[in-house]
């Protein structure tokens, strides 16, 4: 049943030009950064005289592309997540889902899975693109894997937050703006507390936890952070929709 909802969401994302345009634009951006990375590699590396300053092409290009991905998704995810629930509210299509034999958990998780599946297309695309470096060099697949996994968790967290804000309002644009602001704050939160490495506030930041994945390290503490974040916002969304049924 979760799959049915996810399929419906994917279908409706591709039924409008929105999904295609966002995919195309993002792929164009990633492709450009990839190309720039490859072009600049020898230039930069030949300038690095000491061996310690030199590092592999995977990391050099990967840093470029994954850095861009985590930043650009800040804008893309709100645009995709905004309509998940708020548009159903506005068009009054929620009764269609509520009167089908589905629990609210299934509806929410289905929508979440649908959006994450859509974003995964991009993650797979980036992974494949970077893997093409293997044709002329010997690349570090572990680095790509860790980064892909980190990006996946990051985007899933973005989606969960976006889904929650989408459930609060019947105006998709309001949902998008709220999601963007919240994501932006969570992204740069660690910058404000950069002076104090033990700060609890900094621990809440996405970037703090994405960093280890970006360096090629899969740390269980970071995985748990992202999972808790996702679960928290999914539960909040479920409670929000449940309140609709109870309070009307």
């Amino acid at each position: 049943m979760i799959i049915s909802i996810a399929r419906k969401e994917l279908k409706s994302m591709f039924a409008s030009p929105m999904g295609w345009i966002i995919l195309a634009l993002l792929m164009f951006a990633f492709g450009t950064y990839y190309l720039n990375g490859v072009n600049n590699y020898f230039e930069v590396m030949s300038g690095a005289i000491r061996p310690a300053e030199r590092y592999g092409v995977t990391q050099f290009v990967g840093q470029n592309v994954y850095g861009l991905a985590s930043f650009i998704m800040l804008f893309a995810v709100p645009l995709l997540s905004m309509r998940l629930i708020s548009e159903e509210r506005r068009n009054q299509t929620l009764p269609f889902l509520f009167s089908a034999p589905l629990s609210i958990v299934e509806i929410i998780v289905g929508k979440f899975v649908g959006l994450v599946a859509f974003l995964s297309i991009l993650i797979v695309y980036i992974g494949l693109m970077l893997s093409t470096l293997n044709i002329w060099s010997d690349i570090d697949f572990g680095y790509i894997l860790a980064n892909s996994f980190g990006l996946f968790l990051l985007l899933a967290s973005f989606s969960a937050l976006g889904l929650y804000f989408s459930s609060l309002t019947s105006q998709p644009v309001v949902a998008a703006i709220l999601t963007f602001i919240a994501l932006f704050v969570l992204m740069i939160l660690d910058r404000f507390f950069a002076g104090d490495p033990s700060s609890t506030m900094a621990q809440l930041s996405f970037m703090k936890h994405f960093q280890s994945f970006a360096g090629g390290l899969i740390d269980s503490a970071d995985i748990i952070y992202f999972l808790l974040f996702i679960i928290t916002f999914l539960i909040l969304t479920i409670r929000r929709l449940d309140a609709d049924r109870l309070r009307g």
Partner: protein, 315 residues
């Protein structure tokens, strides 16, 4: 074990302190069509939302074929097809896509999906619209898609909230025929403002006003009241009321609009012939004699505004 398909037990819904629906109880058996009548804001839609599990009742419970909606919502919802007042259509899909999704969400078996989509389309006269985007369909066709969505999984209970709103007369006739057809095998609940519609399709009627059931019974009871015991008679030479009153079987004579007389007939009497004879004999110039047909509206108004009047008087 009884064979009621829908049992509503003391349904109450409070919004803030105000009761939108209070203490509504009724049963519906298999093969019945129930008409839900009431003025705007009477609680028709709220009751339907509670029946379909879209809204939790503050008090009371709903059972669909013996399955409690609160305790076992998934099983109960499987047996219901629901068309809300606002059509829940995803306008970016084509008719086929939308109905396929509806079938999938309602647990129609994978192999059966294509077939049930075809059947639902055929029943609602949507065959030639399969590949059209719902957004581009006319109002009436969108309504048909809404109905198709509600019957796609062949549910035991079909609940339609004002299904004929915005349709043209031909479509209304088709939809009424469809409701009757569904009503033969399953139970149907239809809400409407249109009284003749109730008479045409329903065999049970409920009138709800200010959240309370004010009438619950067989359509025949209403029909009898509608056919009524009143005659509307027109004379070009208006006789004295007493003369008409004297005719055997006439209980009461009142002057009605357009210079006609409304004659209440005694229970079981049929004074039509006597009236005609008297008119001919005394040259009253009879030009019309007909049963007074407006009384269904009267019944409705009596039932719904009676309470309003008394509560106003109390306040």
């Amino acid at each position: 074990m009884n064979n009621f398909t829908v049992e509503a037990i003391e349904l109450t819904r409070l919004y803030g302190g105000r009761a939108a629906v209070s203490n509504v109880s009724f049963n519906l058996a298999k093969g019945q069509v129930l008409g839900f009548l009431g003025p705007n804001g009477a609680g028709k839609s709220t009751t339907m939302k509670m029946l379909t599990g879209n809204l939790a009742p503050s008090l009371g419970s709903v059972r669909i074929c013996g399955i409690d909606m609160m305790e076992n919502p998934k099983e109960a919802k499987k047996l219901i097809g629901y068309l809300p007042e606002m059509r829940p259509l995803y306008k970016e899909f084509t008719v086929d896509e939308y109905l396929t999704i509806a079938a999938r969400l309602h647990n129609v078996e994978r192999k059966q999906i294509k077939k049930s989509v075809e059947i639902a389309k055929a029943r609602c006269g949507l065959g030639h619209m399969s590949k059209r985007l719902i957004e581009n369909l006319s109002n009436g066709y969108q309504q048909r898609v809404g109905i198709a969505q509600a019957i796609i999984h062949n549910p035991m209970v079909v609940i339609l909230d004002e299904p004929t709103v915005g349709l043209d007369p031909v479509q209304i006739r088709d939809i009424r025929a469809l409701i009757k057809e569904i009503g033969q095998e399953h139970s149907v609940i239809v809400s409407t403002h249109i009284l003749p519609e109730v008479e045409m399709v329903c065999d049970h009627v409920q009138i709800i006003d200010q959240g309370k059931l004010v009438f619950n019974g067989d359509i025949d009871v209403l029909k009898r009241q509608r056919m009524g015991n009143k005659l509307l008679v027109g004379f070009s030479q208006m006789p004295a009321l007493e003369d008409v009153q004297k005719i055997k079987g006439v209980a009461e004579v009142v002057l009605a609009e357009n210079n006609m007389l409304r004659i209440r007939v005694e229970e079981g009497a049929a004074p039509q012939e006597a009236i005609v004879k008297a008119a001919v004999k005394q040259g009253w110039g009879l030009y019309q004699i007909a049963p007074d047909q407006t009384s269904l509206e009267d019944v409705f108004i009596q039932l719904t505004y009676h309470d309003a009047a008394t509560s106003e008087a109390a306040a």
